[in-house]
Symmetry: D2
Subunit: 304 residues, 4 copies
Amino acid sequence: MANRLTPDEVKAAYEKISNWGRWGKEDQRGALNFITPEKRAAAARLAKSGEIVSLALPLSTKTTPENPQPVQHMMLHVGPHAVAALDYFGIAPHGMAFTHLDALCHVFRDGKMYNGFSNREVGRFGAKKCAIDVTRDGIVSRGVLLDIPKVRKSDWLEPGEAIFPEDLDAAEKLPGGRVEEGDVLLIRTGRHARRIAKGGWDPRREGLPGLDASCLTWLHERRVAVLGCDGVSDLIPNGYPNELSMPIHVGTLVMMGIHLIDNADLEALSAACAKHDRYEFLFAMAPLILEQGTASPVNPLAVL
Amino acid sequence: MANRLTPDEVKAAYEKISNWGRWGKEDQRGALNFITPEKRAAAARLAKSGEIVSLALPLSTKTTPENPQPVQHMMLHVGPHAVAALDYFGIAPHGMAFTHLDALCHVFRDGKMYNGFSNREVGRFGAKKCAIDVTRDGIVSRGVLLDIPKVRKSDWLEPGEAIFPEDLDAAEKLPGGRVEEGDVLLIRTGRHARRIAKGGWDPRREGLPGLDASCLTWLHERRVAVLGCDGVSDLIPNGYPNELSMPIHVGTLVMMGIHLIDNADLEALSAACAKHDRYEFLFAMAPLILEQGTASPVNPLAVL
Amino acid sequence: MANRLTPDEVKAAYEKISNWGRWGKEDQRGALNFITPEKRAAAARLAKSGEIVSLALPLSTKTTPENPQPVQHMMLHVGPHAVAALDYFGIAPHGMAFTHLDALCHVFRDGKMYNGFSNREVGRFGAKKCAIDVTRDGIVSRGVLLDIPKVRKSDWLEPGEAIFPEDLDAAEKLPGGRVEEGDVLLIRTGRHARRIAKGGWDPRREGLPGLDASCLTWLHERRVAVLGCDGVSDLIPNGYPNELSMPIHVGTLVMMGIHLIDNADLEALSAACAKHDRYEFLFAMAPLILEQGTASPVNPLAVL
Amino acid sequence: MANRLTPDEVKAAYEKISNWGRWGKEDQRGALNFITPEKRAAAARLAKSGEIVSLALPLSTKTTPENPQPVQHMMLHVGPHAVAALDYFGIAPHGMAFTHLDALCHVFRDGKMYNGFSNREVGRFGAKKCAIDVTRDGIVSRGVLLDIPKVRKSDWLEPGEAIFPEDLDAAEKLPGGRVEEGDVLLIRTGRHARRIAKGGWDPRREGLPGLDASCLTWLHERRVAVLGCDGVSDLIPNGYPNELSMPIHVGTLVMMGIHLIDNADLEALSAACAKHDRYEFLFAMAPLILEQGTASPVNPLAVL
């Protein structure tokens, strides 16, 4: 929790990394613009072995400290002589036990979302700007895993343990780990390894490891398209005053227009990357087309 | 509606195409077993241009004749001084306006689902066998589009208009269109072209084009892994008695263990295939991990 | 679990107590017809002291063995500068932890509901006959509490413990306890006293006290309008074969057209009746107008 | 829309009518404290004829301009050989097509709800103060209908048409219409008569008749326990600046602690009062026990 940047330095970083206007005043896709068809075609060539790994937690219907608002699953009626089975799901995708993609309208700074759109674009029927359906054509690109516990030679990072730019630099040195423009960057903290070993906890109260705010400029220089984490990318708690409670969320979603994958499960990917000794892969994710939505539950895939 | 097979011939076809036991008595994945890592790696090499196309309709919140139970979208509270936006979705994914993947537990024949599991495995909390989460590692394979209106030189097929094996044979002759073991086979009827031109309709009452039951043996011979359609693959109405109301659903889901994508949107894919003059592509789909679920809403992707 | 009636005798009782046709072939209100304006006016005169008691459990959002599908409560968005708070509730009212009123369409016998309407009147959009909205004008009448633990001089009845007609006769002898035509009859088993003392349990697995099937003719003779219980009126388990698993539900809802209040909380009412030494009172209940619904959550009131 | 009070006068009225502290610093029930057991017993004596009338609209599942977020009704699975029917309801009770009771936590003024509780008591899991479950024992009292169109000799009031204290005075002169301490006061504007005659409209855009802010002191002097209306009591639009957009809501819920029934259906009650030539009756309402909720759907009853 020794923040490397003062609150004023965080605010200065926000201005420095801003991508507002970079792709035009009306742009709602932000850093997804870094992903070109050529990037996708090159990414596909990384699927050498064809081994596939899911990066998602199940959308659990069980109440736990991590999951106070679980998915509600109702089996539906199909008539008196059932020859089929149907169901209904109630999902609040932002839950901290659900792997989801945050839309750029999810977070505001001084009343504004990415590219300066007002938070008044978000009303009781949803968001008219930067909703999750800007990703309707899917996100297929090169994926890179930065496996922080691996380079720290630990099983996992503890809640409240910060990741600094030099950690990212170190993890990049693993084979294929160099982050490039348009990549989907996945940061492993080992959260789920810890959960399996020690039981679950409430991340809101007990914290999560995550990125120090000093990583923002690093992410900006690398021109990352999407950022994902097995936590929520942000460090909890981070010691900043309330208005800076989520500097990574604000810096990525609002300032750079980088969509965030929260609560991914990166354990199987870590094992697969170690097995193949390769930390780059074909990444494919297809958010649901939830018009005006602020997030989608997702099941991101890596093909090595 | 001139069915090529009598009811008894349909039943005989069911027995002939059965994959029950083919991958062991406990298998719940069915024809997904046709997709090998090698198949996936080869499929990735089809993503030559990097052009990407979504095959999904939006998950609409609007009530229409096609969508009597639309998605319910609620924006959630985030405190008195909102710096974020959250939401909740209520989704009954089997709706005929939603692009979804049917699980093998969705349909029964004589009280049994794929591989002979009893429909008593489906209770009020969901399905204990063959639920949608058997696809948790995603479905990435070669995709092939059979563009039936194109080979029939029409804009679309009419509701109730049947597709026969010779139509599939004809569409296969388009470049790259030959169906192979482990493919995701997509059948275009032009439903959404018709909807855009003429307005929507209630498919339950007014019908859909689809496959004649005689196509079942064709699908079996080709060893298709997944079948998708812009309708529901089945012809509506089909003139069979009630017990045979959905022979394609029963023949694929129950007998062959082939998962079905219902209500895909294949218009953009049709245009892209025509542009590239190539009807094969990298197909990627990541159903949500809905344990015990009978379906997942999906956003399938094609990369050409 | 020593059933007093053989299965054949239960079936004979069904025929004997049938009210099918009693109020006309098209009637959907059943025994509610016993409640006349005069009955209501007389009932109102029982509200002598003005003391009021709720007979409902909270609609709990917590998962427990009794409540595997709790109410889902979502707080809704009200804009960036909140001056209000709104919410959303997802409720499956038939849950065994929820006080609810069963509609006459809730249960079938041989494919038929009350008055001989087919269960085919119930489709995926709800019930076209005997839905809960037949109670839209509310149920106000004389209420009577039969406090079985009190007359048995116990704190509560145990799961699986049966109530027989002679228990009802004994409880009727308490002041004001005589059951009359058009009454709302409430049977206390002490379920919630037991829960508070010993913790909750899953009634589906571990049982509930309830009425022996021999009480059906008693209920018929008394011309009860509505039956309520702190359990589900039926004895669980009851030792009958599957087809007779719920003889009180079938006998009341299907044969007599008596609406059932399940899972009431009768502890406070028991105390109030003891205090006033009077087991009759003004009863008022206002089911929600859920058209085509099979139940409504309710908060029944007693005014003594 | 000629407001009788200036914005400053409205604010002065707020202070004058305040009941904060009147029933103690911890009180969460507000004007419900006016209803005593004696009041209830006296109210019951008004149920002379026993005629009963519902004051609720159906909880409609249909999308209309008034009902953009209708109730979601799903029929539930009950096994392969259905002998029962179950369902699920998704309800956002504050909808302007739903008859509901606003909790005192529903609206804030300067960050505070009734009795000075902070709006920070309302979080993403609900309200910890002044939630709807303070009404768990039901609301039974004398009801009075003030039938404004009747005294204005019109069929209905038009959207935007204001009701002033002298209108209330005039309507009180109808038989039994004098408002007394602890009453449930119902104000009819004829909204549903207009809807039936002319079709529905969106009240948010096109307005509703309602009370001028000058009625607040009138309500305070009369010591009303609960206020209900076939609109939302407030006049829409009212010409005040945004911060005063709902002076009746703020004055009743926040300042006086008066619960509000919004969107009642008072047409049948108007007819019944005219028939009996009596505008007082037994009123009974039993909100669901939705702990931490900001409202409950209700079906209020009048017995004349």
